[in-house]
């Protein structure tokens, strides 16, 4: 391909995945849904790095399977048996009155199960698309892209991400030390003996960290004129009032139409503008910023196009996107749907390949062996394995 290997802007992957999820949300047809899951898997297979978060995808696939199963089981247990094609008649169990007159089981209709399956598959597909974004986008780079107003929170999260693995190491260390005092290392009682030294250590560390941040220039701000502060305040407050009114309008049909979605959007826009304006007082620059380059636009565009094509297909023939369960019909694919899936899959070849990974465990070329090998007991493996993103 013509791209050099590099990491893509995380926002591009997220837009692509959200596009796929939107496409999935506009159909219950199992054929395009299954194709979309396959697309997510294929793109992931070709374009993910070997960073720890890239392994999260499997978890999402499992979760999707659980959702589909749960939907079907719910339909069987609580369904109420609408449909002509009865597959099996289970004994009915009426529940007492306090349970709202619900009865369990009863006849199980094919339509009912199929409906649950279609619905569940749609949700599972959306979830799996999000899982693909989680696995493809580097969460730390995502944090670097937060707007100025959220800079402080972003920094806190960056700190949390770098400190958490150290804490896992120190938990292991303290646990070993507990045995030296003859105390057991398990149970609620041990919690105190282990959690407290770790917490105290972490709190002391936070003070050293704060001093280091101060000395390195954290908190430099640009002077903001009083007028601008008033404007940002008014925008944020006014916007939020608009959001509240819009939410009310959206849920209450008696409210005038302009109070619904339009009000909500106007309010959000005003508040976000206020927030972005307020963020201008944070004065700092970014090292090696992620830029939106053609490849990013292409990937994000593929996602958006997939969503748009599905919607278009829906407006052309809605029955094919929402195949009716009664009467039972075979789901069909249309060329438009196939095109949408094809576009969604394009990033597997169009996106730049991930950068050749520098493994974290690579032995240092110079210097003495890393001291972690001197750590006795079971700490070593856990310490190595607890890179961010792993589930310890």
């Amino acid at each position: 391909m013509w791209w050099l290997p590099r990491g893509l802007h995380p926002g591009a992957w997220w837009l692509w995945a959200l596009g796929l999820a939107t496409a999935a949300s506009h159909t219950t047809n199992p054929l395009p849904l299954a194709l979309l899951v396959a697309v997510a898997g294929r793109v992931l297979g070709r374009r993910r790095g070997d960073a720890p978060w890239a392994l999260a995808f499997r978890m999402y696939v499992w979760l999707g399977a659980v959702i589909v199963t749960m939907r079907v089981v719910f339909r069987i247990v609580f369904g109420g048996g609408q449909g002509d094609h009865i597959l099996v008649r289970l004994p009915e169990i009426p529940l007492p009155a306090w349970a709202a007159g619900i009865r369990l089981f009863g006849p199980v209709a094919a339509e009912q199960i199929l409906g649950g399956f279609y619905d569940g598959l749609r949700l599972a597909t959306m979830l799996i698309c999000l899982g693909a974004a989680n696995a493809l986008a580097n969460p730390k780079r995502l944090l670097k892209a937060v707007p100025g107003a959220l800079y402080a929170i972003g920094t806190a999260v960056v700190v949390a991400l770098s400190v958490a693995p150290q804490l896992v190491e120190s938990v292991l260390r303290v646990r070993r030390a507990r045995r030296l005092r003859g105390a057991s290392a398990r149970g609620m009682r041990a919690l105190r003996g282990i959690a407290l030294p770790v917490l105290a250590d972490a709190l002391d560390r936070s003070l050293a960290l704060a001093a280091a941040m101060d000395s390195r220039g954290y908190g430099r701000t640009a002077a903001v004129p009083a007028g601008q502060r008033t404007v940002t305040g008014a925008l944020v407050l006014g916007g939020l009032v608009g959001v509240c009114a819009g939410t009310y309008g959206l849920l209450d049909t008696a409210a005038p139409g302009y109070l619904g979605l339009p009000m909500l959007l106007a309010g959000l826009t005003a508040a976000v503008t206020g927030m972005l304006l307020a963020g201008r007082r944070v004065r700092r620059s970014r090292y090696r910023p992620d830029r939106w380059r053609p490849a990013e636009l292409l990937v994000a565009g593929c996602g958006v196009a997939a969503a748009a094509l599905t919607m278009l297909a829906g407006s052309v023939d809605p029955e094919l996107l929402y195949p009716p369960v009664s009467p039972l019909t075979w789901p069909q694919l249309t060329p438009l749907m196939l095109l949408a899936v094809g576009v969604a899959a394009a990033p597997a070849w169009l996106a730049p390949p991930p950068p050749p990974t520098v493994s974290a465990g690579r032995p240092p070329a110079v210097d003495r062996p890393i001291p972690v090998t001197d750590v006795p007991a079971d700490g070593v493996r856990a310490a190595r394995a607890s890179t961010p993103g792993d589930r310890p």
Binding site: R173, R284, Y287, I370, D374
Partner: protein
């Protein structure tokens, strides 16, 4: 470059002022060494340079501190970030991000430098500090010395004119410490940065220092050249002590200096032999370990090591990081993994293997103080720790406290263990372990972070332990400690014992393990200033 004008500092919580009426100037391009015991006010002095005192810590600053013409009264630390770079003791605690490259860039991001400049400076700094091949590594997987070099690099990228280093080596082992100090001295010479350095390894930097600020601990500061300033210092490296003993003026600042002056001393000592090691009654080993094996995935940490420990003897376990010292200690104690071999501790009721006992019993036979001695402590006060230690050991109340008083007299009982100095905390952790009265005591890197004063105290404590009939093992990198303390030295490499013998045999055999005194007086077999002093007394006595 840096001016302190009649500076007095009071902290909000009261107590005597750590700095009293301090006035001095540090000129552009100087390497200024700050010396003094733990708690003498070194950190306050260093933190006042970039305004952390009092902007960050709270309190009152009388007088004025100016750096490069900027007054800290009107410039909080963040506004001095482009002039003063500060590096602390524990590099890992000061890292904001988690990879080397991002950490180098963090300070520049705060200063809002353009991306192109940042990129260029990061590359330059990677080369300057020789850490280019570490650029993508997560910070916590680096060795201590590498981490500290990254920390230095991370402040250098802002191109500060002053570099302030607060005991940059105190959390490191000697080899890593030397790396860092070599880096610092190179920066002084190559870049002309003004450096203010607090450091207790005086012998490593004295020869490069232009100025010595000595804090005796009463809030004052003695300002002078290294040679004159040394006169005030109460406890100094062996090299200086030897110089004082021999009456050399000015005092030697390096082994090379000393060796050129020492011909006379060597001559005086020619006819005398160092006192023989007191043999002591040989009662057979208290602990016998045979063919100890410890494995980790991918490596063998300890490869079939035999170990005999005798009552009343101090054994030093040496070797580079990763040579298996800690793993061996933990395996012998029984709390760590052991994949092969036997351990037998001779007790009143025959011999036992601590691994076979529950943890509470094992510590009655072998006590281990781990590298971070604070890990053993988790309560809010010294007294609570002592009471807990008595309870969990099942000994009469007050036993642990009595041990504490024996090791470090006058430790306030209501103090939080984390507010103690390194030396006091070590003593408390040791007392907690001694409450179980184990006949074998293992100490892993006990002197890391201790100043000369605390080290001397520790040496006395360890000798006392041996004197009371315990077998003591000290795993350490510190050759001076070993020279003054150990009866026997075992050197490990790659999980095997490569050298085992009396302290004199092992230490005089290789220049890597030779203490300063030995280096100065070689080929005569002297190890410590004490020995030389005793010998000189002897030669003088008949005359």
């Amino acid at each position: 470059m840096i001016t302190f004008d009649r500076v007095t500092v009071h902290y909000a919580e009261g107590g005597p002022p750590p700095l009293r009426d301090v006035t001095f100037r540090v000129e552009e391009g100087e390497l200024c060494l700050v010396a003094g015991r733990t708690g003498a006010g070194k950190s306050t002095l260093l933190r006042a340079i970039n305004g952390l005192v009092p902007h960050f810590t709270g309190g009152t600053l009388h007088g004025a501190v100016t750096v490069d013409g900027r007054d800290t009264r009107t410039h909080p630390p963040r506004d001095l970030a482009d002039v003063v770079g500060v590096v602390g003791q524990d590099p890992l605690a000061g890292f904001v991000t988690d990879t080397v490259e991002e950490e180098l860039a963090y300070g520049m991001e705060q200063l809002a430098l353009p991306p192109a400049v940042m990129r260029k400076r990061v590359e330059e700094t990677l080369d300057l500090l020789g850490i280019a091949d570490l650029r993508d590594r997560p910070l916590r997987t680096l060795s201590g010395g590498q981490q500290q070099r990254v920390a230095i690099g991370a402040v250098l990228t802002a191109h500060p004119r002053v570099l302030v280093l607060d005991e940059p080596t105190s959390a490191l082992d000697p080899t890593a410490a030397e790396d860092v100090l070599a880096t610092v001295t190179r920066l002084v010479h190559d870049l002309g940065v003004t450096v203010v350095l607090a450091e207790h390894r005086l012998e490593r930097v004295l020869q490069y220092a232009d100025r010595l600020l000595y804090l005796p601990g009463d809030g004052h500061v003695h300002d002078g050249t290294p040679a004159t300033g040394l006169a005030h210092i109460d406890i100094a490296p062996p090299l200086i002590e030897l110089g004082r003993l021999a009456g050399w003026t000015p005092l030697p600042l390096s082994v090379r200096d000393a060796r050129r002056r020492a011909s006379d001393l060597r001559h005086r000592l020619a006819g005398v032999a160092p006192p023989p090691v007191p043999a002591g009654a040989d009662t057979g080993p208290t602990l016998t370990a045979r063919k100890i094996v410890v494995r980790y995935p991918g490596t063998v940490a300890v490869a079939g090591v035999d170990l005999d420990l005798r009552a009343g003897r101090v054994v030093a376990l040496m070797g580079r990081n990763g040579s298996g010292k800690s793993s061996l200690l933990w395996a012998v104690q029984g709390s760590g993994p052991r994949h092969g071999g036997t351990v037998a501790v001779t007790g009143p009721k025959g011999t036992v293997d601590p691994k076979a006992l529950p943890a509470g019993q094992a510590r009655r036979h072998v006590g281990l103080v781990p590298q971070d001695s604070g890990d053993l402590l988790y309560l809010e006060t010294v007294d609570a720790e002592c009471a807990q230690a008595d309870r969990e050991t099942g000994v009469p109340a007050g036993t642990c406290r009595a041990l504490v008083d024996q090791l470090v007299p006058g430790l306030p009982g209501d103090r939080h263990p984390r507010d103690l100095s390194e030396g006091q905390r070590l003593a408390l952790a040791l007392a907690v372990q001694l409450t179980a009265a184990p006949p074998v005591v293992l100490l892993d890197e006990p002197t890391r972070g201790l100043d000369y004063h605390a080290k001397r105290q520790f040496t006395a404590v360890a000798r006392m332990l041996a004197g009371s009939g315990r077998a003591v093992v000290v795993a350490t990198h510190d050759v001076e400690l070993v020279a003054t303390l150990a009866d026997r030295v075992i050197v490990m490499a790659e999980g095997e014992i490569v050298s085992d013998g009396t302290t004199a045999e092992v230490m005089l055999a290789s220049p890597a393990f030779a203490p300063q005194v030995a280096k100065v007086l070689a080929p005569a077999p002297w190890l410590t200033v004490e020995q030389v002093a005793a010998a000189l007394d002897e030669t003088r006595a008949p005359a």
